[in-house]
Symmetry: C2
Subunit: 211 residues, 2 copies
């Protein structure tokens, strides 16, 4: 097994419970790290530089875009959000499996640049459960819920671009499933190139001996 | 999760311990079934039709080839060996994860026809261990061992065509790793097409409601 960590992209419908599942993974296993995004929005109370976000000015952020320092970035409302390449690479080099929790468009950009990234889509078992969870939050009005459900419909057509679909019926089960996927990814042949080379080199003299 | 079983191809160097690992999988878990090959070689004592092999005459076998009834077949020495399509499909339809234990060329043919098949290459941790295991069998003379090691060298160049490389250092660990891979394969998006369609259908009326 080569030593680099796996790049994991987790997306899902708003209300699917991604955040809780990622929290569970971090609590249960010690191989994960979560990518910290860069943003131009102002820090909220209690948010820490390098933990919650890397806070940047618009000028700084646009300079980083020019220098291709982001794996992916997007602009929401008036703020930029991006995934810094260097931060992710450092963690992978240290052997950590790095989780990016990003939306669908960003996820597909990541896959273009990193074909070995493991794309996981987290979904509730059905649409009724999705609606229940959004409503259960108690923070969104009816119009917002309707908008989120309509957006879920659009996103449902992009699920097929993900490598894995994980149904979040129970958080523990969903986290375990993701952990099995990541652990399997370490056995994938593209993660074992140096092992294959080692075997070839070791076996070479037997080939000569047999001739 | 759709209900069809996964098609699993297990190959590996002679001496890698594939047989022991497959035996362990069958003992530990109840989701697996092993494909039974058809062959034109004569039954040996104790071999049972439909358990050890499906025994065929050369005429029968060649007729089945013509009718494209094999997933893959090959001729060794003077005998044909093949994997019957119908048998494998029946077991997958019944929800069993079907293991084909076949050699490298056959495995690559399977992948061409069944791109969703999961190809797993089982290997000892290094070439010395491979040689030790071949020698430990006590059944092969030096010339045969040398030939097997030379063949392993050739096969080592085809490992990269497999989806997964699983190192068989301990049988239990190797079997667990394969089981995680198969269990993850059930979460792959191509195994969840009907779930994705269900979600799209359910979400459609929310899209209309929001307009």
């Amino acid at each position: 097994m080569d030593n680099q960590g796996v790049l994991i992209v987790i997306s899902g419908f708003a209300g699917a419970g991604k955040g809780t599942v990622v929290k569970r993974l971090l609590e249960q296993y010690d191989n994960y790290a979560v990518s910290v995004s860069a943003t131009t929005r102002r820090p909220r109370e209690g948010e820490q530089e390098g933990v919650s976000y890397f806070f940047k000015t618009v000028e700084e952020f646009e300079q980083l875009i020019k220098e291709e320092k982001f794996i992916e970035y997007a602009r929401y409302v008036d703020n930029y959000y991006g995934t810094p390449k260097a931060f992710v690479q450092e963690m992978r080099d240290a052997g950590r499996d790095v989780i990016l929790e990003i939306e669908v468009q960003g996820a597909l950009h990541v896959k273009e640049q990193y074909p070995d990234a493991v794309l996981i889509f987290v979904t509730p078992p059905d649409s009724q459960e999705l609606e229940n969870r959004l409503r259960g939050r108690g923070t969104e009005d009816e119009a917002t819920i309707a908008k989120r459900m309509a957006r879920a419909y659009e996103e449902s057509f992009l699920m097929k671009n993900y490598d894995y679909i994980v149904i979040n019926d129970k958080v523990e089960r969903c986290a375990d499933c993701i952990h099995r996927i990541v652990s399997s990814a370490h056995a994938s042949s593209h993660e074992n190139k140096s092992f294959m080379e080692k075997m070839q080199n070791q076996l070479e003299h037997y080939a000569k001996g047999a001739k």
